[in-house]
């Protein structure tokens, strides 16, 4: 084995891997195992493969890479595991090992580099991307592209998923946003909004709705300047260094803003924000700053459930079902709060679907990178959704929201059913 190989294998925490006693309790919880029935597509199997690599019984090759990326990262296995194996961080390390290995051998593919190094770290560029997307949509180019087959220029997976994208907010609308939204009545707390990169681009209004709900609950809401992408996508994709850089910038930005809580409305980002301190092992100064930051992070559902109850004036006579965000439920343990909030809307009927906390297949950019598996999982999910006869599918994460929109299209339920972010729904009833 080469020296670089050894260096990168040293990243695995052998004790954590050894803690997996291969009991298999996680198997029935895992969507990819349920779809394939294959051990290599189960958490137990993936951990074994990592062990194989760490012991040099297996090599870091294309097959290993494929298996590590076939995981949704939904972390349902962590909830199921009685031995407390931190699967999420294990798989991130495995991907880091894969990426390091590839970098030591070849140059990273252009698209990957473009996304991770050139776009996500720069809020301005994200905004530009948003403007371009808006312009394309407004000019009807999307329809045109759809009709003329221009769409085929995009990879199939992206083309498929963009079907589900709603019209995004205009640059003018975005400009109108004030840096601080004042509390209704007396101020109880000063909240820093973590706007999220994709969230703020594609779901600008959901961020506005969240802020509005918080002001109603007595908070001053600050749209903290200089914040950047949370780094979750980088971390899940094995780009650890990129992730750490982003985390530092966020910690600094929110420290400067002097807020009581850091609030977000995207389960995936929230889970990453709450794990920042794990990203700084071996850097005590940053780890301490990260811990202080992490202590303030709350999901919007979590915080709203703690604050004095909101008064809803517009009853909503609808039947809804709630799709858990994996990173909110399995990653952050927030399950009851969104349900309680939903039930507090007058007139609303909440019907649980079976397997609500099973991943919908969205999982970050999984629905683009592993399109077929993602759709297989989604179709299974839609069967459960249908049985509830709900009018609305409510989610707590932008990725899941897009996926559920796609699911509605795939299931032929357009016009009968709508997918909506919980914050938008709550705001509708204010």
């Amino acid at each position: 084995m080469t020296r670089t190989n050894q260096e990168l294998l040293a990243k695995f925490n052998m004790d954590e891997i050894m803690n997996c006693m291969h009991c298999g309790f996680c198997l029935p919880a895992c969507p990819t195992y349920r779809e394939t029935g294959l051990e290599s597509q189960s958490p137990r199997g993936r951990i074994a493969l990592m062990k194989g690599v760490a012991n040099s019984q297996l090599t870091v090759d294309a097959e290993f890479e494929k298996n590590m990326y076939a995981c949704l990262g939904c972390r349902a296995c962590e909830t199921a595991c009685p031995a407390g194996v931190p699967y999420g961080s294990l798989v991130e390390t495995a991907r880091e090992v894969v990426e390091d290995h590839k970098k030591s051998e070849t140059k990273p593919p252009f698209l990957r580099q473009l996304v991770f190094d050139r776009v996500f770290p720069y809020p301005e560029r994200m905004k530009t991307l948003g403007t371009v997307l808006w312009a394309t949509q407004s000019a009807g180019l999307q329809t045109l592209a759809n009709k003329t087959g221009l769409i085929n220029i995009l990879p199939r997976e992206m083309a498929e998923m963009q079907q589900a994208v709603d019209k995004i907010a205009s640059p003018k609308e975005r400009k109108k946003r004030e840096p601080v939204m004042k509390a209704d009545g007396e101020t109880a707390l000063r909240i820093g909004m973590f706007t999220g990169c994709i969230m703020d681009m594609m779901f600008f209004e959901t961020n506005q709705a969240t802020a509005q709900l918080l002001t109603k609950a007595g908070c001053d809401v600050v749209f903290v300047e200089n914040q950047v992408c949370c780094g979750a996508l980088h971390a899940h994709a094995g780009e650890k260094n990129g992730a750490v850089e982003l985390a530092k910038r966020n910690i600094e930005a929110f420290e400067r803003a002097g807020v009581d809580f850091v609030v977000n409305n995207a389960g995936g980002c929230g889970a990453a924000l709450k794990e920042y301190h794990h990203w700084f092992h071996g850097d005590p100064e940053w780890q301490e700053r990260a811990m202080a930051f992490v202590a303030k992070v709350r999901d919007a559902n979590e915080l709203l459930a703690e604050l004095p109850p909101l008064t809803f004036t517009k009853p909503l006579e609808v039947r809804v079902t709630y799709q858990d965000s994996c990173h909110l439920a399995h990653g952050q343990g927030v399950r009851n709060q969104p349900r309680q909030l939903l039930k507090s809307i007058p007139g609303l009927e909440l019907v649980e679907m079976s397997g609500a906390d099973n991943c919908c297949g969205s999982a970050g950019i999984y629905n683009i990178t592993n399109f077929d598996m993602s759709m297989q999982i989604l179709d299974g999910k839609m069967e459960h959704v249908k049985k509830t006869k709900a009018h609305l599918i409510v989610t707590s994460n932008p990725g899941c929201l897009l996926q559920m929109k796609k699911g509605i299209i795939r299931a032929g339920l357009e016009g009968q059913m709508e997918a909506v972010h919980i914050m938008d729904l709550l705001a509708r009833a204010l």
Binding site: H22, F25, P28, E39, S40, A48, D61, P82, G84
Partner: protein
């Protein structure tokens, strides 16, 4: 490595998708839930029909290739480790329930059906399949059958063998046979069904199973009793049964297990206690209430420091779920968890627990004990680290003493997990040399070329515990 021609043939039999032989896939089937053991297969084959199973076996038999049938790989005896390489025959695609016969109270299903899925399906019809191994949410009925798995309801309802009525199975020659059926009475010839139950994949491959069902008990109640010592707990078990009450479940947890389970399931157990019993009775409401009250009285008389009745079914279910997670929760303590399966007549329960404590002390090991007290089936579980060879050696010595103690007390080396690789060196302690010879002759009648799960059940070396790496 299998020859190219054989690989091609296997591909042709099951289809490209269901023949796996890449390094990752092989590695993923090199282990099961048993700690320490590991060995690589040459191929993984996932058949979908009995014809495919038959064709694979015929091919393997002709070429002398080992066949290792596999369900979910949750066994704790090393039963699915391909020690001699060959083909892992993954049976998980046989996961259909073909029929629930409400007239005859039977269900017919593929061996790959997950045990809890069978429970759910029959309970939806008001019926009941009692065997409930702790692994039931993962393990398959085929695996349960091949290991003759027990569970928490063993005391009143028996174990897997008591519910298997009929089978379809494939011999290494490729011949497809049936035995038993829906008849509750059937004495036509040797009882091949019983022989296949517990055969641990060494005789043939099971492809269809007919199980017996019972009416679903109307209600159940759960009770917990805590003790400041071990003997009082054991005396409670004896006295309850002597007073002619057979509870569905009597589970035992010692103090160290209680601590870990509590930490995991956040139950608020009184951790100063030395042991606890979890007792459940099911049946008609009136009887259940009467029994549970009587049991509570006995527990108090026998010195229980505290007796609690679960107020709601949910509370009872939560306690039992905690017991089910005991093994996995224990594994949080150290990297390697070795769970054993010594069983003694009920009356020797306290002696056995005390013996385990003595042995743990002697070898300076951490051993927690829990198990199915109602049927004397204990799981002394050792938390260790497989990388520490010296400690593992002490673990081996300790368990050897524990097995000898069990045999001395009229017990056995395994109550429900089976022999596999983990216990094969102790089988003679239980069945004697004559017993082993007879079993080997039976095996030869089914499997003359010794392709079915070779290297299991019968010891081929003088070493007691074997650590296999390839």
């Amino acid at each position: 490595m299998l020859e190219k021609a054989i690989r091609e043939e296997l591909r042709a039999i099951v289809g490209e998708k269901y023949f796996l032989d890449t390094p990752n896939e092989l590695y993923a089937y090199s282990y099961d839930a048993t700690p320490i053991f590991q060995a690589m297969p040459d191929a993984v084959v996932i058949p979908g029909t009995v014809e495919e199973v038959s064709a694979v076996l015929k091919l393997a038999n002709t070429h002398g290739i080992p066949i290792v049938p596999r369900g979910s790989g949750t066994n704790l005896a090393g039963g699915t480790i391909p020690v001699e390489g060959g083909i892992v025959l993954n049976m998980t695609r046989f996961n259909q329930i073909y029929e629930i016969d409400k007239q005859n109270l039977t269900a017919t299903l593929g061996p790959g059906v997950v045990t809890a899925d069978l429970h759910q399906a029959v309970e939806a019809e008001g019926l009941f399949y009692p065997p409930d191994p702790g692994s039931m949410r993962i393990s398959t009925v085929g695996g349960n059958m091949a290991q003759c798995a027990g569970g928490m309801r063993g005391l009143k309802y028996g174990v897997t063998k008591d519910y298997i009525l009929g089978l379809e199975y494939v011999l290494p020659s490729g011949e497809v046979l049936r035995c038993g059926g829906k008849n509750m009475k059937d004495v036509a010839g040797y009882d091949m069904t019983r022989l296949m139950v517990g055969s641990e994949g060494t005789l043939g491959v099971i492809t269809e199973i007919t199980v017996k069902l019972l009416p679903l008990p109307e209600s159940k109640r759960t009770l917990v009793a805590y003790y400041t010592n071990l003997v009082d707990a054991a005396k409670t078990v004896e006295t309850v049964i002597a007073s002619k009450i057979i509870p569905a479940t009597i589970e035992f947890l010692d103090q160290s297990t209680m601590k870990v389970v509590d930490d995991f399931a956040k139950l608020g157990l009184p951790l100063e206690m030395k042991s606890m019993l979890l007792i459940e009775q099911d049946g008609p409401e009136e009887l259940v209430v009467r029994d549970i009250e009587k049991i509570a009285e006995i527990a108090r008389q026998q010195g229980a420091a505290e007796v609690q009745l679960a107020k709601t079914p949910e509370e009872g279910a939560k306690l039992l779920a905690a017991r089910r997670s005991a093994l996995a929760a224990l594994s949080r303590l150290r990297p390697t968890t070795i769970l054993e399966d010594a069983t003694v007549p009920r009356s020797r329960l306290a002696d056995m627990v005390a013996e385990v404590e003595r042995v743990a002390e002697k070898y300076q090991l951490q051993i927690c004990t829990f198990g199915h007290a109602g049927d004397g089936n204990l799981h002394p579980t050792c938390m260790t680290d497989e990388r520490d060879k010296e400690e593992i050696h002490r673990v081996e010595q300790a368990f050897e003493e524990i097995f000898h103690a069990a045999i001395r007390m009229g017990g056995t080396i395994t109550g429900e997990h089976g022999v596999g690789m983990a216990k094969m060196n102790y089988l003679d302690l239980k069945v004697g040399e004559g017993g082993i010879q007879l079993m080997k002759r039976i095996k030869a009648a089914f499997d003359p070329n010794n392709i079915m799960n070779p290297g299991k059940m019968f010891a081929n070396s003088g070493r007691r515990r074997v650590v296999v790496k390839r």
